[in-house]
């Protein structure tokens, strides 16, 4: 795997952590909770090398 691709996987993992952090921190808005989880889907599928 080329270095640039590895870096993009690292960026994806960083974004996943960021989204999960925001999801757990969110106390009021259910809309925002749903939004964080939906945005997570493609990132998780990518790091699992599914899509």
């Amino acid at each position: 795997m080329p270095l640039i691709m590895i870096l993009y996987y690292v960026i994806s993992m960083y974004l996943i952590v960021l989204l999960l952090w925001n999801f757990f921190k969110e106390k009021k808005s259910v809309n925002d909770m749903v939004l964080y989880l939906l945005v997570l889907i493609p990132l998780i599928l990518r790091i699992l090398r599914v899509k």
């Binding site: 691709m5 259910v30 997570l40 599928l45 899509k51």
Partner: protein, 387 residues
């Protein structure tokens, strides 16, 4: 506080269920193996990585089949699934792989040229993941691919694709399109390595004719045609005139634009001694103004919106209630390939190409595509290649 935790748990469970359900489907599609039953004409099987070491172990590596004749002659290389969402190409090439025998010359066939794209899909456009072709022994299942290689195999895309070696600026997405990355390089992005390996086959095996089989929208003028550069023009013209006159289907020649780089019909001719030809047959499924992208539309090509546009003269191919069935598209490809061989042999008799047991248009339309595929369960296991 407790209420928020319950909501979060419920939301996470729902999203996880959706992701797992969809993810399993996508994973299965990417790892679905198509059994190819090697026919009596296959004499040697290699892989693309035999011609470009850096492809070894990647999802882009794929089989290269050789059908060598009893007598020496010319050499033709045929590629399908350069764009893996144009399946008539693969179906036509499989007919040659599973049935044809070569009398004179050599055929080199790469059925899944963009192997990565054949394991990719376009869920946003509602592409089906699979389609099935009915046969005498059941049905043969194919995975439906995408135009471009998967991001799982080549990522990220650049902002702009700078073509090698001309440095022409192309769309970023074309960095994963194996009909923009010719002639390629051994240390470039993965798709450039795929086209480089094909160029190495052409150079090392001294290929005379390279045929890249495609499909194109009915609303796109470059359809139902052979795209050819200057050096291939005479044979392409004779081929289209002959199939039109003798086999009664529409076909014409489109010149390969010299200023548009990266395409097989341009770069193969410029970077080798081979004559390139790119074949296009209509594929209504790829047109934009259609109904849902269903398997039925893919196979029968019937669409009410295209029919309406046809009546207004907006299509570049004849189109009526019968649509544009797969059998017709595949038959056109087999006939044009066979006629290219015949015309090449007429021009260069010392490099003759002579193939038997490959059906022409009328036979494919009459018998159906599936008639020519063999049951993997009933075939010798040694002759099956999972591709």
């Amino acid at each position: 506080m407790r209420r928020i935790i319950i909501i979060k748990i419920l939301l996470s469970a729902v999203i996880a269920a959706i992701m797992i359900d969809g993810g399993i489907e996508l994973y299965k599609h990417r790892h679905f193996q198509l059994p190819i039953v090697a026919g009596p004409g296959i004499t040697k099987v290699k892989k693309l990585s035999d011609y470009c070491e850096s492809l070894k172990g990647t999802m882009a590596d794929t089989y290269v089949f050789f059908l060598e004749g009893k007598e020496e002659g010319g050499k033709m290389m045929i590629m399908s699934n350069t764009h893996a969402n144009e399946p008539a190409a693969l179906l036509a090439v499989l007919i040659f792989l599973e049935n044809a025998t070569v009398e004179k010359g050599t055929l080199i066939i790469i059925p899944q040229f963009n192997q990565s794209a054949s394991r990719n899909t376009r869920p946003g456009d509602g592409y089906p993941l699979y389609f099935e072709i009915p046969t005498d022994w059941g049905s043969k299942k194919f995975r439906m691919g995408n135009r471009d290689a998967s991001w799982l195999d080549q990522w990220p895309d650049p902002d702009v694709y700078i073509h090698y070696p001309d440095r022409q600026l192309l769309s970023f997405i074309d960095t994963r399109n194996t009909n923009r990355t010719w002639p390629g390089r051994p240390n470039g992005p993965l798709m450039e390595r795929v086209t480089y390996a094909a160029m190495q086959i052409i150079r090392e095996e001294k290929v005379d004719v390279a045929v890249d089989v495609h499909g194109a929208e009915t609303m796109f003028p470059v359809t139902n045609c052979i795209v050819a550069p200057e050096k291939s023009m005479r044979i392409a013209t004779m081929t289209t005139l002959t199939v039109k006159a003798q086999e009664k289907f529409d076909n014409h020649v489109e010149p390969s634009p010299p200023g548009f780089r990266g395409l097989s019909h341009r770069e193969i001719g410029d970077f080798s001694d081979a004559m390139p030809f790119l074949l296009e047959a209509p594929i209504p499924f790829l047109d934009q103004p259609t109904g849902p992208k269903t398997v039925e539309l893919l196979l029968d090509g019937k669409d009410p919106f295209l029919l309406s546009l046809s009546k207004k003269g907006k299509l570049f191919v004849p189109y009526d209630e019968t649509g544009w069935p797969m059998d017709k598209r595949v038959g056109q490809h087999t006939s044009v390939i066979l006629e290219l061989m015949r015309q090449f042999t007429r021009k260069f008799p010392e490099k003759a190409l002579q193939v038997q047991n490959a059906p022409k248009y009328a036979e494919v339309v009459k018998n159906g595509v599936g008639y020519y595929y063999h049951d993997p369960d009933e075939s010798d296991k040694k002759s099956i290649y999972m591709n």
